[in-house]
Symmetry: C2
Subunit: 540 residues, 2 copies
């Protein structure tokens, strides 16, 4: 069986996912709501194990500072981040049947076109559903909006990416890191995009789970590509259409990847994806073209898996520059810049004499102090307070020496993973077929259960013994699943279908000598071993 | 120090939480948005450990089927669940200053009053802010609303409780459990309530995290109170105002608690809460009065912790009857009932003859089949199809024998935990003061870190050694925190402030003989032990 081979199609994965409690379309009982899924008992376990592996890679081992931010945010924040103005899709609707479409989905190659090009092409296209003429193209913002508070309330939006929470929390996280750079913030959480045409189950959802890292650094001191990561083998498809099997080190040396930290994160993203079971032969990193690249991004790569539906993006690694921090720094009341080391020097500053101001200006003194916060104070500064012009002479201030540094906005490199897509792609790419047998062959770390516990029959105390063994297994941290229904063959088949890593059979001999039969999922090898040895082998 | 003693106030907890990266008000940089929090690196770790303990109790050990449902849901669902009609607060606003208030917060004892009583009292009250007259009372729905899809879209709401996802997924979960009852669904996730006046940080939030279990059972076969749980000591405050120190078994025998499964879950909820560090002396379960009880609930208890702000509810245990399943069964297209065992019998049914219908009625046959889905078919059934009256004679049907059972809606008991409140109450109730020393004394399982690793100084290779030890600790699953800044005393104090369970100091002797100093947080006991012994002691 080839590593790159496609062995199962979308419909089959979706059918098994629904049947076996991995995921199902949400709200089917009420006619459905496209773009939303429920994850069931098996799906939640798989998601949690992927998340655990991700936390191990990024939070525990790499020391990222984890955040869990609010999902609803105020308008002012999304105004600053650019999401209110620019985060939209081009929409056309049918004047006759009322159906709505994404313009770029109706035009060949539309997803790579600029809006102007797209507008030109869409004129010649009629409704795919009823062939009537379509409306002109309009911009549809992809954020879900709501209202916070009673009455009219204030406008709020569901976040379209977890990233903004991390950017906005940057000053707080920086304090947690005692002011030191570089450091990385990480977040696992829900994001929302009001897609015009959600489809393909977990591949284009309106509500989805992201795992994002924002790696902050001084622009003059970008973290270098580490020696351990240089030799990581990687497949790159650069913007000029050239595909190369190379190493991350070579790609950086040859300036195919221009940022050392982007190179670093390409290698780390790949290492993580392989550790959870993505076959390296199905993985490539594709560089964004200039039309496709977000306005803020200078070097941007999508990690893609080859599936029955074509290449699917599961991670994006982007150099976002200082776009986000400077946007929030300019629009909000907080300092998002950091001092540049080595630029500290003494400067003379004029400071207001609060006592004298109070004596002279009484109630207006407070307003004066407020007004001079935002100007550089010097003798004879003129202010307008409550319609009155006031000139502050040297009498109301004194000179002080302070140590000040030049300030700069940190830059950021972001690896951003989509959990829902990763789970789907893992199911598909780990699908195995051997004659009549079909099974999911994920690594133990991302299998939903470590162990199936199966009594040969439910009499003679075999089931009681099996329950005892379940308890011992769980007590030492083994995720075990109990199944006593039907023939052993049937139970193995069911365990295979969701990829349970080991199966243990309890029979009459177990009661006599304490041995069990342990079966390994991928090889089907069975061995008769003591219970203790079996549990030690299964334990992760 | 007494178990029930209050040792710290709200302001101090909030100040330390912000300073140390536990949580902070979200969106402060944009003027704030009341009712939303960011959790920082230390807070996320504490939350995750509480969630892990909860999963261990309810999902791993008790075998609940875990679900992760969508946060946005369609209008029809919330119409059925009653949230669209009845999930509201009584709102009054000031005609002069425009401020809005919850009516029940302005009237003494308002929270216990019926709406009619409240309406009578509120007339005499003026605006607490500007003393002007208030508006009449109006109902304000607490769900956040949004619109799903382009253009006008269809109305959607952010779920006000995770419970509804589990109820709606009941038929799917039942299939995962192979049709067997009892079983329990569990869910951890975000919920949203558009509170009129959010306040008190994590205690009344607009966006919060719930951990809910829905335990389904046949009304004729309610799970009994198990022997292991009967002797659980518990403090109950019943609706008649009587407080008793009793056991769960006794409370059930004396019909203070009337449902055996509610009794079961009171004991289990208490066991869970104690395991994460809630002092038993600060915990009581208070029965809802009849005014306060949700419309669906017949036996409802709140687990409350005594804090500096009074008693705070952190868990509710409610018997919800068949309210939710029957609501969804009646309003949606799915079967939410289950067969009653032992009621199976053979019945004669008339089935349509599809071939004959097709021949006779051509295109209308499909509509006829659709129409008879919802009626009990018998000879000479009359139907109205496209405005025409059609009578189906015996010729178009045949009689068949089927085995059918009587059907019934399962009942449900729900323990529902609020993670944000639990974390706040844990911080407060585990606060310790001894002279100048203050520390959080949570059990190791819910401390944010197991271990502080601290080199005595950052020279002579002590820091290198400390980094090596960090790596070994993390490799064996110890959550370790590295700190090299300031005196050892300062570092111990910082570790105490967030409740790190052990501290390890690396000094020159470590380099010579491989021993370290291990300090236990609560006793401050220090011992000189080998690195291996230290790591074994720290490992959970």
């Amino acid at each position: 069986m080839q590593d790159g081979e496609i062995r199962v199609d979308f419909q089959k994965v979706i059918a098994v996912a629904t049947k076996r409690g991995i995921f199902q379309p949400a709200f089917d009982a009420y006619g459905g709501l496209a773009g939303f899924l429920d994850y069931g008992p098996v799906g939640v376990r798989m998601r949690r194990r992927i998340l655990e592996m991700w936390r191990k890679h990024y939070v525990i081992n790499a020391g990222c500072l984890e955040l869990d931010g609010a999902l609803i945010g105020p308008e002012s924040m999304f105004q600053a981040s650019g999401h209110l103005g620019e985060f939209d899709d081009a929409l056309v609707d049918c004047k006759e049947c009322g159906k709505q479409f994404r313009a770029d989905h109706l035009v060949d190659g539309g997803e790579e076109m600029s809006r102007t090009e797209l507008a030109k092409k869409i004129i010649n296209i009629s409704c795919p559903s009823c062939s009537s003429p379509l409306s002109e193209m309009s911009a549809f913002n992809l954020m879900f909006s709501t209202s916070v508070g009673a009455g009219k309330g204030s406008p709020g939006y569901l976040r379209p990416e977890t990233a903004q929470s991390i950017f906005l929390a940057f000053p707080w996280l920086l304090r947690q890191n005692r002011g030191k750079l570089p450091f990385a913030g990480a977040q696992i959480g829900r994001s929302f995009r009001n897609e015009i045409s959600p489809r393909q189950g977990p591949l284009r959802m309106r509500e989805f789970t992201q795992m994002e890292v924002e790696h902050f650094f001084l622009p003059t001191n970008e973290p270098s590509l580490t020696m351990e990561l240089r030799n990581t083998k990687i497949t790159l498809l650069s913007a000029d259409g050239k595909e190369s099997q190379t190493t991350v080190g070579q790609a950086f040396d040859e300036e195919v990847v221009t940022s050392s930290l982007v190179a670093n994160h390409l290698a780390r993203a790949q290492n993580f994806l392989i550790s959870i079971g993505v076959p390296p032969g199905k993985l490539r990193f594709r560089q964004h073209g200039s039309n496709e690249m977000a306005h803020y991004s200078s070097d941007c790569w999508d990690g893609e898996i080859n599936t029955s539906l074509g290449w699917v993006e599961i991670v994006g690694v982007a150099h976002r520059g200082d776009y986000d921090l400077s946007a929030h720094g300019n629009a909000s009341s907080r300092e998002f810049r950091v001092p540049i080391p080595g630029t500290e020097k003494e400067i003379e500053l004029w400071k207001p004499d609060i006592g004298k101001l109070g004596k002279e200006f009484k109630g207006d003194a407070k307003l004066i102090l407020e007004a001079i916060k935002n100007v550089e104070l010097k003798p004879n500064t003129s202010l307008n307070i409550n319609g009155k012009d006031i000139v502050l002479s040297e009498d109301y201030m004194s000179q002080k020496t302070e140590r000040r540094s030049e300030m700069v906005y940190p830059n950021v490199v972001e690896p951003s993973f989509g959990l829902d897509r990763i789970l789907y792609c893992l199911l598909e790419s780990s699908w195995n077929i051997d004659g009549e047998r079909e099974w999911i062959s994920l690594p133990q770390d991302t299998s939903p259960y470590d162990l199936l516990v199966a009594p040969l029959m439910t009499k003679d105390g075999l089931d009681t013994k099996a329950h005892e063994i379940m308890k011992s297994a769980i007590d030492i941290g083994i995720d075990a699943y109990y199944d006593e229904a039907g023939s052993i063959g049937r139970r193995y088949a069911r365990a295979d279908e969701i990829g349970i890593f080991y199966s243990m059979t309890i029979d009459h001999q177990t009661l006599e000598d304490g041995t069990v039969t342990l079966r390994e999922r991928d090889s089907k090898n069975q061995s008769r071993v003591s219970l203790e040895d079996a549990l030690n082998q299964v334990r992760r």
